[in-house]
Subunit: 373 residues, 2 copies
């Protein structure tokens, strides 16, 4: 517990985030260690760009990877480099800053750059990585808006590099079982989705509370879980959005949205009743109801362990390190020519279309906004 | 199980309603029997008006009452009378029809009439009971709209009779404990309420699916649980409403709403994300989140058993017969001059103001509608 508390304080996520990442370390201890498995003959060599709180979580998780390997860094804070070198054995030749980033194209020892910079920098940084000819993973949300997301997809296609979003839950076994059950028709016709994501955010000075760095508030950062969750629970794309906002702390959240509820209307008639917040805990859940069955995930979106119940009983799936599974899954697709997991830039764009519509509805006092795919 | 299935078929509630009333009989068997307690010296003598499915549930529950007693009937279906007389020992002098109803004013052996007729008849029937000088309980929803509810309140006040709504959950121990915890501040500042009510409705020919008898569909009949639940979870009155509708079965639900999601904005900034349906099961739940704690009821609104979990653990409360507790609670208030439970006509009006606003928002394509109290 001490190490987690230290970690939270160090990265200013605040005590609220403890709920979100609850147990992440315990999971590593209890789950079958990927690290124990032999490493793959060929590994995807990854550089992390942006060494904030989440980059630390990814780096720690990647110690368990067998197909992906952390080999490089991009950081604007030289003082962070010694600790990272020591912890992860990074070679100097694989360490870049934001001025010499373009030189990464000449480095044959880096295959992919994982962009974990503040949201509003994703667009610029993904374009830079694509221009350097490297595959790219971009942390969610993909960008500030759908227009940027489309430009990022186009840039990666033009450069011939793969473009993924850090949608780790698509590699998480409980979530995968939920999706499998839905695809297999075990819930019957889906009738409703209800979900909520969020936590009480800590340090009021962090970038997530600054619009020019975060692009938005809770909706942008955690509402994307609700949005993505509603989409993987239905297997459909929403056609309309309505949204409502509440700001109970106008000082802390002067710059960004604090609490947003929103509804997604799907072609089959499903209405997903969603929400997200930066201002309370125990909010995180996902509930899907069909004519033949149902599932509830709670916790649904955190770093684990994820827990799910269905009409058949508890979802029996292993607790894994989400970040390790994500990185190995993406590495496997790239190196072994497997079909792309459902975390491509196009998936990021689909969520961004919803987020754009949510903000448009809020600007229009909750009016129904139709989404053009 | 057979008796329940027979019961469901008999009253055309359909298999879906089984989820709603699941365990109601088992509760009667397991709970401490009120029937075993001595009857009160003075009892409130009740006549039921409208002998449909719910009147049967009330009558059966009232066998456990000690302060209320079923003594009379008002029915337009003479063929039902013999069975009711036999089952409940009703005397001929206490049996009325809709033509001679006004004569009930000359009957000193009836204190109160419980109106359990189709929703759109509540207004007319409550005015008739008030004119006869009898106290009245009206089944929820109080009326078709707030205007009618205000007229009903005024008529009862003018006649000097008590006017209650059949909000049985306000007498249900798990729900009362939730409300007690909220009032005691155990959840801290309430930040969010999420709830859903409903079930798959059966017989497509029943009055609940006819607008001229039901006043509306799922929103009117079960959305009132979501509305009332959001109000007792917050202790506030909503100031705005937004609403969305889905109709996946336009044949069965040609006349009334099938599935409605709606949001209530409260003065403190809480947004309650609510919904209701007539077209799927396992929908019923209520979740309240505060800055210090939380509670979830699931099932939340059915006839029992109600189940609740909180940050302190499972709610430890007895499973009781809701209808018996409601009738004894109201009888106790009337006979013993106790403060009115929170189920007055004014409470019904407050929910009706929300329901009016939901329908107005639906007519305005989801626009935000402000409520004037």
């Amino acid at each position: 517990m001490n190490s987690r508390r230290d970690f939270l304080q160090k990265f200013s996520l605040g005590i609220g985030a403890a709920a979100f990442i609850a147990g992440a370390e315990n999971v590593s201890a209890a789950a079958p260690k990927i690290a124990d498995a032999p490493k793959a003959d060929k590994q995807l060599r990854v550089a992390l760009m942006g060494l904030g709180g989440y980059a630390n979580i990814v780096a720690r998780g990647m110690k368990e990877c067998k197909t992906a390997k952390l080999v490089g860094l991009v950081t604007g804070t030289p003082s962070k480099i010694p600790e990272w070198k020591q912890k992860y054995g990074i070679e100097d030749k694989n360490i870049y800053n934001y001025e010499n980033l373009q030189e990464i194209k000449n480095n044959p020892d880096i295959d992919l750059v994982y962009v974990i910079t503040p949201n509003s920098l994703h667009h610029k940084h993904v374009l830079q990585v694509a221009a350097a000819g490297k595959h790219v993973i971009c942390e969610k949300p993909v960008a500030d808006n759908a227009k940027q997301a489309r430009e990022m997809i186009a840039a990666c296609e033009k450069a011939g590099v793969k473009f993924y979003i850090g949608y780790r839950l698509h590699f998480e076994p409980h979530t995968r079982e939920l999706i499998r059950m839905r695809e297999a028709g075990e819930f019957g016709k889906i009738m409703h989705v209800n979900n909520y994501a969020g936590f009480t955010i800590g340090d009021p000075t962090q970038w997530r509370l600054k619009k020019n760095l975060a692009g938005g508030g809770a909706m942008m950062d955690v509402g994307v879980y609700s949005t993505n969750g509603a989409r993987y629970c239905t297997g459909e794309e929403p056609v309309w959005v309505t949204a409502q906002e509440s700001k109970t702390d106008p000082v802390k959240f002067k710059d960004v949205d604090e609490t947003v509820t929103f509804q997604l209307g799907f072609p089959s008639g499903i209405i997903a009743n969603c929400g997200c917040t930066y201002n309370f805990n125990h909010a995180e859940r996902l509930h899907v109801m069909g004519q033949k069955g149902w599932a509830e995930m709670n916790p649904a979106f955190g770093y684990g362990p994820i827990r799910g119940n269905t009409h058949k009983g508890a979802i029996d799936a292993p607790d894994v390190n989400h970040q390790a599974y994500q990185m190995d899954g993406i590495a496997d697709a790239i190196l072994n020519g497997k079909p792309d997991p459902n975390v491509t830039g196009h998936e990021g764009l689909k969520d961004m279309l919803v987020i754009d519509a949510v903000y448009e509805s809020l600007r229009k006092n909750g009016a129904k906004v139709f989404i053009k795919q």
